[in-house]
């Protein structure tokens, strides 16, 4: 006596027709699965968008995806810990690395004083051309203009700093710092631009001047604080990092963004975990409905299950049939849920204004516009979780169906 072949088409037909025996229950369950899957993907896209924004903002403030600097610079960002501008092999590597942009910067602590107030600041000497890609500050200048050349003698300050200093566009301020010999270096600058940052805290802190102008002020001819390199995507910089690292001379420190700002790195790494936990939590809520549907479906068909056992269907085939029913239900729900998610997220990708909670978002390092990010990876994760956990939760009702005693089942009224 040879065991019969598992006849998939038979099981599929039975499962499909059984699914539609109770239309209302199936529609309700499909609604629950679809909305659950939509919620998984939609909320994940919002979270992903928020974290992406926080990471992008954070990386813009670093700035760059990779930085080369003096080994002591991150602990003591003074002019003493400067490095020469790139030459030779490093310069060639930077130009051929495939980076979106690279630039040199000066970054020193300084004091800025108006005729009324003075404040401690980060004084940044930048290459104006590169700054749009690196920090986006030129686009945030809403009064006056941005720096026009590496020798521009103007200065750009934030709106909040202007308010604190009780100064305004066109007024002169004095900037004081130290040169490598620890002598005071100071000079007057005219405020040529005022910017409004997406993160208001930065407006008080970062002050921009032209790189060569600051080199003259600080007496560090041909030296800079950092070389910053911007890749195409912060998630994928490993190749770029390795390429530049090999050309970086000994005595210079090269770090990717995730080693410079470990908080950002932790947030990036936690995101996938968050998504998985979120998806599983929603599924757990869904699973009660799913198990209930299948248990009810089995309970209503006890006699019929007894019959197919009596006719010679093996218990394993009964398990497969119930699991197929669950799979069909989940698959239809997934298709609808995925479609709903795409339809609702795509129009929002151009930006969702959440300025009503802007201050709270700013505290977390995110801006007042939220850009939901729908990724294939997140969709696949949600689908995989629903299918795998859905099948696991369906095993119990399927197993119970297969274990039914045929005589008792046939006598059930």
């Amino acid at each position: 006596m040879t065991p019969p072949r598992l006849h998939f088409a038979t099981l599929l037909t039975l499962s499909w027709r059984n699914l539609w025996r109770n239309h209302r229950r199936t529609y309700i369950m499909l609604g629950a699965i679809s909305v659950g899957v939509w919620a998984m993907i939609f909320m994940t896209a919002l979270m992903r968008g928020m974290v992406d924004d926080m990471l992008n903002q954070g990386i813009r403030n670093l700035p760059g995806h990779i930085q080369i600097q003096h080994p002591d610079f991150l602990d003591d960002p003074s002019v003493v810990n400067s490095i020469p501008v790139p030459r030779g092999e490093l310069l060639a590597a930077l130009n051929q690395s495939g980076a979106k942009r690279w630039a040199t910067r000066i970054k020193v602590p300084a004091v800025i004083a108006s005729e009324r107030e003075s404040r401690g600041i980060n004084l940044l000497g930048v290459e104006p051309d590169a700054e749009m890609d690196l920090t986006g500050i030129p686009a945030q200048v809403n009064e006056g203009r941005f720096l026009q050349s590496n020798l521009d003698d103007g200065i750009i300050i934030g709106a909040k700093l202007a308010q604190r200093l009780e100064t305004r566009l066109g007024k002169r301020v004095v900037v004081m710092s130290q040169d490598p010999d620890n002598n005071i270096s100071e000079r007057g600058f005219r405020i040529v631009g005022i910017y409004r940052a997406e993160l208001p805290g930065l407006e008080e802190l970062n002050v921009y001047a032209a790189r060569d102008t600051l080199q003259q002020l600080l007496r560090i001819q041909d030296r800079v604080s950092q070389i910053v390199i911007l890749g195409q995507d912060y998630r994928d910089i490993e190749t770029l990092y390795q390429r530049v690292r090999q050309a970086t001379p000994a005595g210079l420190d090269i770090k990717p963004w995730y080693r410079i700002d470990t908080y950002l790195a932790a947030m990036f790494n936690m995101m996938d975990g968050f998504v998985l936990v979120w998806v599983i939590i929603i599924f757990l809520a869904l699973s009660f409905g799913l198990v209930n549907t299948l248990v009810m479906a089995v309970f209503e068909r006890v006699r019929e299950i007894g019959l197919i056992q009596a006719l010679g269907m093996r218990p394993t085939m009964i398990v497969v049939q119930i699991l197929l029913e669950s799979m069909l239900l989940l698959s239809i729900g997934l298709v609808i849920g995925n479609l709903l998610a795409v339809i609702t997220i795509k129009p929002l990708e151009s930006g969702l204004d959440i300025s009503v909670v802007a201050e709270g978002m700013a505290m977390m390092g995110a801006s007042s516009m939220l850009y939901p990010s729908l990724t294939l990876h997140d969709m696949l994760l949600a689908n995989a979780v629903v299918i795998v956990l859905g099948l696991l939760t369906s095993i119990l009702p399927a197993w119970r169906a297969a274990r039914l005693d045929p005589v008792r089942a046939l006598n059930t009224t």
Binding site: L14, R21, L307, A310, G312, R314
Partner: protein, 227 residues
Amino acid sequence: MSAIHCHQLCKTFRQGDEIITGLDHVDIDIAEGEFVCLSGPSGSGKTTLLNAIGGLDTPDSGEIRMGDIRIDRLERGALADMRLHHIGFVFQAYNLIPVLSAQENVEFVMQVQGVLAAERARKARAILKEVGLEGMEDRRPAQLSGGQQQRVAVARAIVSQPDLVLADEPTANLDSVASAHLMGLFSELNQHHNITFVIATHDKRVMSYARRLIKMQDGKIISDAPQ
């Protein structure tokens, strides 16, 4: 294959605090091609004996053989295979699968057996014609009368030419015309295809078709005689 040998079969059931005897040391031998009726009052053990022979229920003790196979020792999967290949069941209530059409119900066993689609369809249509249901192949059970449903169940039981058909009160829900037609069909299959029939019944008209009548009472065989 269909020779059935039962030796000292015992089966009890618990109903609340009471122990009910279903089978009490039953010995029975049924040869291939026999047409046997089991009769007796309700609770006499007819259905319990059918269920035990069909491998739907296991006895507490004793031995059941079908050919060389010890049915009482088979595990669930092997029992299912044995039923699939060797036994056809006809129950008192028609027990069709409600989501399948008449033809699909008849094809079901063959589908599980792995018979090719074209052959399945041909055999199912032929047997439905034989039981008088030509033109009703696509109807679902709810669209058929009681007698028609029972004929579909019979068609399903015999379509793959089992060695043994076990029928439990097959005419209980049928009128006299439908009953006579069904029993005529059973007799014909028994005579022409050498299928062994074991039928549990109260109905004297059904008993009249049997060539051997076994009477049961309180789980025991009280008489066993040819007719």
